[in-house]
Amino acid sequence: MSAIEDQDRPAVLVRHAPSVPADVLRQVCAGIEEEGVLHDVAPVHTVDEEVYASVLAESLAHGAALQSRLDTGIGIDGDGGIVVHHAKLPVHHPAYAEQRPNRNASADPHAPPHGRRAGTAAARLVTGLPLPQQQAVRRGRGDELTARCSAML
């Protein structure tokens, strides 16, 4: 499950900014593993700090999906915003997005930890099961910024 040693392994590729909290990464991987699917995690270093975080996650996810033998990738930005992508989907229409938890909002004690749902969603794209309920989506996106992100990958 460590770095990109076996490029050919059928796995969900997880690509993240180097500063992603370790626990978010761990929960994303747990979500994939619980559904019985393999994953492959690696940080992406060429990050332009000015880029909007959510756009970054989207492009990372799309790039990962294009590389994955399972056509499925996850991108995580430095703040823990997560996007799940499928290679056949347009870059601006990801399959699933999990926002960074709002610290002010009172957390639902029964909700799974942040990152788990996104991992589950990615694995289910592979296994063909309905995706978990999507949270309310708030996205900021700009085509110019996305273009810069894509160019980096």
Binding site: K88, P90, R124, G128
Partner: protein, 609 residues
Amino acid sequence: MLVVGVDIGNSTTEACVAEVDGGIDYLGATLTRTTGIKGTPDNTEGAVTAVRRALAQAGRDPERLDLVLLNEATPVISGLAMETITETIITESTMIGHNPSTPGGCGIGVGTTAPIGDLADGAVPSGPVIAVVDRGWDFDRVAGVLNTAVELGTELVAAILAHDDAVLVANRLRVSVPIVDEVGAVERIPLGMPAAIEVAPQGRTIRTLSDSYGLATVFDLTPEQTKQVSPVARALTGNRSAVVVRTPSGDVTDRKIPVGELVLSGAGKTLRVDVDAGADIIMEHLARVQPLDDATGEPGTHVGGMLAQVRDTMTDVTGQSSAEIQIRDVLAIDTFVPREIRGGLAGEVALENAVALAAMVRTSGSCMQIVADRVSKALGCAARIGGVEGEMAVRGALTTPGTDKPIAVLDMGGGSTDAALLTREGECTAVHVAGAGELVTKLIDSELALDNRDAAETVKRYPLAKVESFFHVRHEDGTVQFFTEPLPPSVFARVVCMTPDGPVPVETRQSIDHVRRVRREAKRRVFVVNALRALRQVVPGGSLRVLDFVVLLGGSALDFEIPDMVADALAGHGIVCGTGNVHGTEGPRNAVASGLVDSYASLAVAVAS
């Protein structure tokens, strides 16, 4: 002379414009929503709208309108009630039988329940142990504690988790044990009690805990105790994983609620029938008291409550006292209702048997004359009642290409199914039976546990499909359809209804085959049963063989499968059956409105000659 026929139905008001001068020249037809309850003065507004719209479409000046013909709406109103007749209750928490999407490990483990907190303290309980893991425990920590406990000598045989972590924990354990997860009420599991956990291999269902003797073997039960736990076994059948905890006082009761007797009177007889006996027996008894004068239920029982409910609704609608309201037809249907098991720990459901009753009430008369007077005032032309609904429907149906007398029509609406027969000699008989589109919707709603009438209506009206990728769906008939725009992720891998606005997911975990079966069975039990029942009542001698042509009319005749189902059922009797096509252009709509114009024209000709 310019004439408009207007048919006020339960949900739609239809109009047909024609120029009548010796012959009839049909100029067009239109429909609008019925205003108010059918047969009440509130209908005027919808009728006027329909007339104006029809004239505008035909390009005729409303000033030139000579006559509006209204139908004598049959004062028939239907009501529905449904009641479960069994209920599964677990008096002490004794079982968990649900299907978490991903249980861990496989096999069966029998031991004593113990909280994971005890094992974390380093204690080594004697005998086999089933670890119970509460909320708030991380999967790595659970695996660590359990591994340490096993090293210290604990005989771990299984685990029950609150979170969706079973595969994660199983992958990290050094021993292979069955693990059940997503148990919502984990805190209610009795601790220190003998329990058994079974997880079946992928693609299989459990074998031991879903078998009465399997349970008897596991828990060393006496024959008497085995009898008591057999409902548990039955409730667990078909699951991939299950937990049974044996508590001393725990037992599951399969209680039958007294449903009561239905009292049917008619044809000089009074018959009493136990609703428990099921729909077939009820309908058999009903056939013996035709024509029905009234139906009542034993007070204080479920059936009494159901019929009282129908009467109350009727009282509200018609303003008559409940003593005056007589139930003139009943359709009983056996159904099942998924209900959450009382005492279950993970929201388990059991399929409870239920009976649905549709009842039809004849009211003491309609207010059509008032509607006619008001229409006349609003439009400044003559308006009168042109004929009785059933007869007019047959006349309209006769304009369908390829039909001839004797002809029968089946008008399949929302509240009731109506049949009318026109003999070669021109005699017309009509009947109304309870149960139609609304009942189908209700059956679909309860059997799929949708708890949403609109969602059930969507399932009823549109074919199903399974979304197989972002770019294609597989329809229920097995064909695939490709999309150039990606489908939304919210429908990915779901069972959907293919509506004109795109795929709409059905909120169920059931397979597409199951949803399809429920939908088709609901339609069959209402429309096929009612088609045969209604036709037998209009045909002399009750033999369907004497019929040649049957024409299907009404909103449900536009359904994508009901006409085929009815035609299939009638084909065996040598009957030509198909969907009406009034004037060869209007489809199964507008039959009554056209019939009104047609009937007026033939009278005018008769008078002239």
